[in-house]
Symmetry: C2
Subunit: 240 residues, 2 copies
DNA sequence: CGTGTTATTGATAGATCTCAAAGATGGTGG
DNA sequence: CCACCATCTTTGAGATCTATCAATAACACG
């Protein structure tokens, strides 16, 4: 599996060069940061950390894909977000005494760089640019949350599902000749948990769109063949 | 109105001393930051900025209360959050070329400190502690959003309303002999928009709790008389 | 070729929204 | 000081969406 192979190539500064969090840092600084990091490998299906664990480690995903799921007291789950390569996650680790609010599961074999809290704090303090970058990354995730929160309250299930798929195709899609394919295995249940609905409703809705030719899918795979139509479905009520 | 009066007292470093964002800074640094700030006064009902405006200014609320509302394409609103004294807002201003994602309305006469983007960036770069504090503040708001997002998808309307009121009483409540009073005028519509429901459902639900003695309310005023019962309602299904 | 996971589909029940109207409340101006 | 008006709140009845329950079908893996 290529994901895992590339993990074998150890301290390579080029890996870190493309991480937005470290934008604006010079070579030596990056090398130092990289030197302070631990490598963490996680197999598909395993957890990087679990909801409720003491938040001690901050991560940057180098390769693979993760999903963050949160469970409420009643045992119901929602899928909070996906983590793509080059993104950072587990920012709570910067806050003293916090616990991870989500369980972070690998959906492909994955590799991450890890820093403990002391190192992370030092990182932020020594490199103001990193703090600024973190704030930006944080900010855009916040915006995404805001719009999801709004949608979950004002939109109907169908539109929320469209929204979720659209966002997925934009953030984690790979373009092919037959459409935008979502780069990791994803179940109807996942989509439902993202859109805040049940897998039944998600299944029905997606089946309908497949009939309409908006997308095509097989087991754990979704290909968006007509992104524009999908975007339209995410915006306006589907009339038919 | 006391809120407005205290605005008259100009550059007083003690104002800034209690702002968590500036925790860990020494006196001279605070004085410099304060000197770079503009004062901004807003009357109840007026907007500090509007959704879609170029995000150029970053703020710290000194006195009063604000609410952040977001409108979607269809004209439906949600109440994203409230801003309490000493909290910062409009972090998007740190990001180049962004627009405000919400409209920020004063619900009481309010006073804020304002910095333009250049000053804000300098602030963050010169004082790593500020960046760290901002990350924390951001982080806890993010956690709040996550749990709201989860609730909006997994919980019933009643519980979401309880959750909203509970959070409101904790963040913006003032303790009195007859219970925790929410410190600013708030309508059923506001509560509904916060909980992601309609004012009708909110009205009915709240009326029910008033009969049960959990809270008492009059026009634009809510007093939580039994916080424990309310907390219970927010956690477990109400059986009756 | 079993076996467990994932996906589809139908029928039903229930919560919540929508539509509609009337009842409070408090401030304003005559 | 009172009448009026805008805003906020309450309440009812019906429509609708979506969750829930239940079963079957398709698929991948060992």
């Amino acid at each position: 599996m290529p994901a895992y192979q590339s993990a074998a190539t150890l301290p390579d500064p080029s890996i870190i060069a493309a991480v937005p969090l470290f934008a604006g840092l010079d070579g030596p600084a990056r090398a130092r940061i990289l030197a302070a990091a631990q490598w963490r490998r996680v197999k598909a299906g395993d957890a990087v950390f679990r909801q409720g664990d003491e938040a001690e480690t901050f991560y940057v995903l180098v390769d693979g894909y993760l999903k963050a799921v949160q469970t409420n007291a009643g045992g119901q789950q929602i899928l909070v977000h996906f983590v793509n390569p080059r993104e950072f996650f587990a920012c709570v680790a910067m806050m003293e005494g916090q616990r991870y609010p989500v369980t972070m599961l690998a959906i492909k074999d994955s590799v991450a760089l890890a820093w403990n809290r002391a190192e992370t704090m030092q990182l932020v303090r020594r490199h103001p640019a990193v703090a600024a970058n973190a704030l930006m990354g944080f900010g855009s995730r916040m915006l995404e949350f805001q719009s999801r929160l709004r949608d979950s309250q004002t939109e109907k299930a169908g539109r929320r599902i469209a929204q979720a798929l659209l966002q997925l195709s934009r953030n984690s899609g790979r373009k092919t000749e037959c459409g935008i394919i979502i780069d990791f295995p994803i179940t109807r249940q996942d989509v439902a948990e993202m859109a805040g609905t049940t897998l039944h409703t998600a299944s029905r809705t997606i089946a309908g769109w497949e009939r309409d030719g908006v997308l095509s899918c097989s087991r754990q795979k979704i290909v968006v063949t007509d992104p524009d139509r999908l975007a339209a479905l995410a915006e306006v009520a589907e009339e038919s």
